[in-house]
Amino acid sequence: MSKKKFALYLGCTVPVRAQNYELSARLIAKHFGIELVDIPSFTCCGFPIKSVDQRSSLVMAARNLALAEKQGLDMVTLCTACTGTQVEANHQLKHDVKKLAQVNEILKKEDLEYKGTVNVRHFARVLYEDIGIERIKQEVKVDLQSLPVAAHPGCHFFKPSEAFENFDDPENPHVYDDLINATGARSNPYSERELCCGGAILGIRVDVAYAMAGKKLASIKDSGSEAMILICPFCNVMYEQNQKKIEKELEQKFAMPCIYYTQLLGLALGYTPDELGFKINRVKPTKILERIGAVSEKPAG
């Protein structure tokens, strides 16, 4: 399959609730000569359905894989939860002929068949593996001045590790930190680094989900980081979109900007905050943007 051309899998949350992420990811892809092909008939990856019926979830993921395969393309994902679901489903289907046959029996109703030839990777992993840290460093035009930031790729960026072919160490991951450091910002360690955002149980127990996200935000604040760097729109729902509610619930103040990695990298490459969709960010990283001299084309508002 062609090396730098991929089917872009947006999933549910990115195109509706994280348009700044989508905008900046498309821009970064263009910058590095990665062609992203939209497949409008893609549907939900199946992540929420796993809890109810794993068989349905597997067919849902397989349907998306079959659509990408039909166009001869590997799949690139933006949402970490979608990544996990599509990668795991793909792993199962590639290793279990019986499951693949059962899934295809259902896909046949839509004249689709999955043969098992597609590879699925998160966009950040594609940047790491296909573009590379050195090339990213060479392209940096704006000095991010070792800005201390907190890395949070989301659990399903590399776990379960066997489905991800161990491309990163699940206990001591470094890929995402390397990507952040390549921009000139600095991945700053914090005690709750491994903590999950709690997004998956937001609809079940909002208090537990908020406590999980709040615990992480507090730990990041304590570490002296000035922003959180994300690559998952659902982690963003927890840390940015619910930040005010969490602050109220826990009676703590975080005021922690949440920036997508593609926005951070875009700043380093010299794109403007407007081009990178910063107007959509809720917790405004105004101080950071001022310090590195990034200016909007039009005054905000």
């Binding site: 929420p48 809890s51 067919v59």
Partner: protein, 208 residues
């Protein structure tokens, strides 16, 4: 306080003092085999109760009722109703911390899916998931791609978002999940493809 209220208060106290014993005649020794028959439930009997999962669990550190080791132990003992009707069964945040560390490769995160899937089959679907089934079946995704969304997208030159709900409905009808949607419940219909029906019909109205 009248007499009735008094009696109720006493009853509450007695109940609270009642020791939480496991009643052996209420255990279902076949429960573990039911779990093993579900996708990703097959490794539950490997557990030797070391507790690495519980120690690693970010939910457990906040909510004590979600204790993976205890849940596995309850399941192995055959405490079917207590597990499937519980709230805790829905509390896994799917972070895979336990999965990566389990020395017996029980694959707990996915085993939790097997438990939840069984809870659904036994009539205990969490209402949050009924809502998600409806949304995904209705729009092909969790969120509607309506005019408002597309106006926002057009403004920053992102391509138009379209919906493909039909293929999802086809899948849900084939697997039987369609029966759990509000549409099917309202129609009172049982029209799924019998040949592929993997999921049993919802029982009762415990989720309503």
């Amino acid at each position: 306080m009248n007499e009735n209220q008094d009696a109720e208060a006493v009853d509450e106290v007695t109940k609270a003092k009642e020791p939480k014993v496991i009643k052996f005649d209420e255990l279902d020794p076949n429960f573990k085999y039911e779990i093993q028959a579900e996708p990703s439930g097959e490794f539950i009997t490997r557990c030797y109760a070391c507790g690495t999962c519980t120690a690693s669990c970010p939910v457990r550190s906040i909510e004590e009722t979600f204790n993976p080791r205890r849940i596995i132990h309850m399941a192995l003992l055959g405490m079917k109703e207590q597990v499937l009707a519980s709230e805790f069964v829905w509390l896994c945040s799917t972070c895979y911390a336990c999965h990566e560390r389990c020395p017996q490769d029980v694959r707990i995160t996915e085993m939790m899916n097997a438990l939840k899937n069984l809870a659904v089959k036994n009539g205990y679907i969490h209402p949050a998931f009924t809502a998600q089934i409806d949304l995904i079946q209705g729009h092909g995704r969790l969120y509607e791609a309506d005019a408002f969304v597309n106006k926002k997208r057009a403004k920053i030159e992102l391509p138009e978002l379209t919906e493909s709900p039909d293929p999802i409905k086809t899948i849900f009808k084939a697997t039987g999940l369609y029966l759990y949607s509000s549409e099917a419940k309202e129609a009172g219909s049982a029209s799924t493809d019998a040949d592929a029906g993997a999921t049993t019909k919802p029982e009762g109205s415990k989720d309503e």
